[in-house]
């Protein structure tokens, strides 16, 4: 195992434990803070995989913007505390389904890629410039479509959350 792989294993353990804590936490604000830890470790994994632009976008957009949106949502809605208030009665079915999906995925992955196989190694490095060239050379149309989608989502969120003055 190389130094990068040790770093990845540490990040994956921290991220996995905090991801499980997100869905098991009894306090909604604690869950949001665990989500921050998970998103930061995912950003670190992107850095280790050589995707620096995606890593910084992850930290800026997810940790900087989306978690703040979640915290605003939690503040504006009265959030109860306690497992019976936060979870529904069918959570054991959810546990069975989630655990089954995890076992199935692990079986399929170790079946498809032999863990000791040296061919399945990740050695690629990209700079922000490569991503920019690819985005504005090959993906201009999807880029514009996504910008239009973001505009529509912005207007839609404002229209939905606005208080209706005349309807009262």
């Amino acid at each position: 195992m190389s130094a990068q792989e040790y770093a990845f294993v540490v990040l994956a353990i921290v991220g996995g434990v905090s991801a499980i804590s997100v869905v098991l936490a009894r306090n909604v604000v604690h869950a949001a803070l665990y989500l921050v830890v998970t998103l930061l470790t995912v950003g670190g994994v992107y850095l280790l995989l050589g995707a620096e632009f995606v890593a910084w976008v992850q930290i800026l957009i997810y940790v900087g913007a989306i978690v703040i949106l979640f915290l605003f949502g939690l503040m504006l809605t009265k959030a109860p505390i306690g497992r019976d208030m936060l979870d529904n009665q069918n959570r054991w079915i959810g546990g069975v389904v989630g655990f089954g999906i995890f076992l199935g995925l692990v079986f399929l992955i170790q079946d498809a890629f032999k863990v000791q196989d040296s061919a399945a190694q990740v050695t690629f490095r990209t700079t922000t410039g490569d991503v920019g060239v690819s985005m504005f050379r090959d993906y201009v149309l999807p880029f514009e479509a996504v910008s239009f989608l973001l505009l529509a989502a912005l207007i839609g969120a404002v229209v939905l959350a606005r208080k209706d003055a005349e309807a009262k």
Binding site: F8, L35, V42, R91, V97, G98, F113, Q121, F124
Partner: protein, 100 residues
């Protein structure tokens, strides 16, 4: 030099935690958080496969998924706030207006 299956195991763990969260949570904001976990698992897979295949396309798709996730959270939280204003509760099992 990270072996690809390790990254895929990590993504599988994130995804199944998200599935459990979507199925088990009552609070709508917590359901949205679990959906974010699943989208992150998909992004990790996209970046890892793109890295292994020496192609930027995986990263491009990850960026587009991040943009769509941001739009989804904005709309989702607007709906949750609207729901709280009308029903005084954001528990997803109490929302049955459209149920026949």
């Amino acid at each position: 030099m990270i072996r690809l299956p390790f990254v895929l195991f990590f993504a599988a763990l994130l995804f199944s935690a998200g599935v459990y969260g979507v199925l088990a949570r009552r609070n709508a904001v917590m359901v949205l958080m679990a959906i974010e976990l699943m989208l992150n698992a998909v992004n990790v897979n996209l970046v890892a496969f793109g890295s292994q295949l020496h192609d930027v396309t995986g990263q491009m798709f990850a960026l587009f998924v991040i943009a769509v996730a941001a739009a989804e959270v904005g709309i989702g939280l607007a709906i949750v706030i609207l729901l709280y204003r009308n029903r005084e509760s954001i528990n997803v099992d109490e929302v049955n207006l459209l149920k026949w």
